[in-house]
Symmetry: C2
Subunit: 479 residues, 2 copies
């Protein structure tokens, strides 16, 4: 077991921080609550960006950039919005050596400034829908921070769209929720549940908020993406109007949706183990590392050229930039193994003198440690099959873990026992009131993560009050 | 001629702003001096990022992310640095509802915070070189701003590297300068000159600054990228030390280098004309637009399927996302032409009823308006040849313009006449003193853009003082 990583069973929170440190993913910045994303962590974000960006473009969206500073008065124009974000703002009061006439806030999210611009860009129904996304940094002054999961500054994408009708805005909100679900399941190998937030958990200023929730290995929930139908709230606050097909002036209907660097924390907590980071092959910045093993210069002169051939074959099949060869002379093979294990590289490819004699290399999976020899001619094909198998296995294992820890609970006593004990997801009935929701949170720390969108409606009775409930909702203790 | 664009000859500055507005590239933000980069402009930035990022990775660099807020005290640690940047800082004094104990500055550049982190990451020579780049937003509170060329907030990349020796740092500084030169010449079709800045023009805190300079159509110079050898200045200020191969503790040698969204302004001013934006094919987010032309539903039913075939063929050859078909029914063909001309799309592909009969499409170059028919079977090949020709022609034309407007000047009287008159680049002798440099600037507005790196040294006498000078330096009035 890795000596620089606390086992999960001993201290889960420390394990999380140790995996980040060992993988050199991120570091604390000199400004409290801020994070430095180190190259190994940022490379994961680059993979996430490239794949999600493609999905956004395939669904008709384009990117743009809006300013990081927003006049403070903008935040106040939407009543719920100001209430939600005011306590978390970082404020620029001086610039260019002078005090500013109006303070500027570092964007916590950009509905307001984008609303201001949309009001200028939208004239008629011909300008709609407006489907714009932005990749940027945002800032929310949080008291308790944790690398990736909650940091004062984080990187994200925020989509902002404007539509003629409420139905189109709702369809867009659900379309992007599904993009998030597909991306997380298919690429990150993270099984997720999708649903609607309750009124008390929705985005400040939204009509409805939909979300994507995943179960971490400590059985807590992580909200890993949200999609908001903003109705006409921001259109009214910023006067985003258009002339409709009958030449009548109307307010547009807007949406916004985002995922952030928090997903890297979720990815880590879904798949990693007591030896460190485990990355699903589809998102791994380095998919395979070739390690030549030898004890003498003579062995090296046989092993190294063969290892280079192995790298070239794998590189041609997988992407030359994503296959590394580690021949560092100052590290023993075991130390090199260790380094790449902690970087979460899915496939280790060992080449020793006997392998060279047999014309093969040894493939070792990061997750199961399963070893499998592959002849040079079959190497690329075998490696690809192993990586695909690993991608599927990681998803299946996470899915089985979630399913095994999701319980249908009918009594509040059982619910309290679950949340105080082993934890997990609880599907339970609730009377729909914010008061009961608050009481449950106070008494158990569990919150309603989502109201499921699909599956059969199953009438029942609220576990707290006994009042009727049309369907079970998902409760969990969350990050 | 485009009615929404002021001709260059009438008012060059207004022409520049009109081209941006007509191409929907950018807009003024509600915060003074800030810019909104609209989708058509941001798509150019995405192309720039993708291609430059690949060049950075091919030269061994990785990306990371450092925080946008920097403790004010960090800026003060390097004496020249604080002097250079203090007047331009935006300062966060309040956050989370409280006044901060130490104000934080919105990064104007990140040498300081990156230096702070490098001091923790670098222990021995094995950790070197450290070759990290960051894509991010930065902020400099400028008094006079102009979209893309000088904005309070802008997007850029900043590379920051640390090395064992001064020679390695110098080699890195020149390597990245050459990456910028190659990128701008080969991809942006912008001929550039490279050289070293004088002491008074160098980066605050640098040992030397190298730069890339291009001539705009008004004959002014635009600095389009800089590469700094920082020596050990930041290493000393932030105590970035390593144990060398003899186990002696030494300060590292660092570099930094950056290009920004300013390049989009330079690209615009190099190639565009009185009808609007002209984009070189290699950087154009849309390379070709297919426009079906018809007068009746019957003609449409013949033309549209053929136009779709044309789009499919071109898309397969060029990239499906980069070939558009514009069949907007509410716009006449001429209006559609106009729209795409102003977006700078290199190739218009017209398909009318006669073209369908002949099994061909008409290719129209954005820059020369030259028309050329191409049979469907030869379409992709012909289009690619036309685009390559256009890329080369744009470079050649800009190069010829620069050469025609670059003068070897030997008397200060001629120099003053040139700068007060037709303008352009002047290669002239200078005695090397900051005082004379300042006097020339005050009297003519021209500055030393660079001291050329190559070409023969040509001894002469300073045009102002008559003192000896080892070589000519490049003067121009600059943006």
């Amino acid at each position: 077991m890795a000596k620089n990583i606390t086992p999960r069973a001993e201290n889960y929170s420390q394990w999380y921080l140790d995996v980040i440190a060992a993988g050199q993913l991120a570091d604390h910045a000199p400004v409290k609550g801020c994070m430095v994303i180190r190259p190994s962590g940022y490379a994961i974000w680059e993979e996430i960006q490239a794949r999600l960006d493609r999905m956004f473009k395939e669904t008709g969206h384009v990117n743009a950039y809006f300013p990081v500073l927003i006049p403070e008065s903008f935040i106040r124009r939407e009543a719920q919005h100001v209430e939600g974000f005011s306590p978390e703002l970082a404020i620029v009061t001086h610039a260019g050596g002078k005090e500013l006439e109006e303070p500027l806030v570092v964007r916590p999210t950009s509905e307001t400034v984008i609303g201001h611009m949309y009001a200028q860009w939208v004239q008629s129904y011909r300008d709609l829908p407006l489907l714009i996304n932005q990749w940027c940094n945002v800032m929310r002054w949080e008291l308790r921070t944790r690398l990736f999961l909650r940091t004062t500054e984080f990187l994200w994408q925020e989509g902002h769209t404007a539509h003629e009708t409420g139905a189109e805005a709702e369809a867009e909100t659900l379309r992007m929720l599904d993009v998030y679900r597909r991306f997380q399941e298919e690429t990150l190998a993270m099984p997720v549940l999708v649903g609607r937030k309750t009124e008390s958990e929705k985005f400040p200023g939204a009509l409805h908020t939909y979300c994507v929730e995943a179960m971490m290995q400590d059985k807590k929930a992580l909200q890993n993406g949200t999609s908001h139908n903003l109705g006409q709230n921001f259109a009214r606050a910023f006067e985003i109007q258009y002339l409709d097909r009958e030449n009548v002036r109307r307010h547009v209907h807007t949406t916004s949706w985002g995922v952030s660097t928090r997903m890297i924390g979720g990815l880590l907590m879904t798949h990693s183990d007591d030896d460190g980071l485990v990355l699903p092959p589809r998102i791994a910045p380095v998919k395979a590392v070739v390690i030549p093993i030898y004890k003498s210069d003579e062995e090296r002169s046989a092993v190294l050229p063969f290892a280079q051939q192995v790298q070239a074959r794998l590189g041609a099949a997988l992407d030359p930039l994503k296959v590394r060869l580690d021949d560092r002379a100052d590290l023993r093979p075991a130390d090199r193994f260790f380094h790449w294990v902690q970087q979460g590289v899915p496939l280790r490819v060992e080449v020793g003198p006997k392998d060279v004699q047999r014309g093969q290399a040894m493939l070792v999976r990061r997750d199961t440690r399963a070893k499998q020899p592959a002849a040079l001619d079959a190497l690329a094909e075998t490696a690809q099959a192993v990586l695909e198998r690993m991608q599927a296995d990681l998803y299946d294992r996470a899915r089985a873990f979630r399913d095994a820890n999701t319980h249908r609970i009918d009594s509040y006593a059982d619910f309290k026992a679950l949340m105080a004990g082993e934890g997990g997801f609880a599907l339970a009935h609730w009377n729909g009131s914010a008061e009961v929701e608050r009481r449950i949170k106070e008494e158990t720390k569990a919150t309603i993560r989502l109201i499921p969108l699909d599956g059969e409606a199953e009438p029942g009775r609220c576990m707290v009050t006994g009042e009727p409930s049309p369907r079970r909702v998902l409760f969990a203790i969350a990050y």
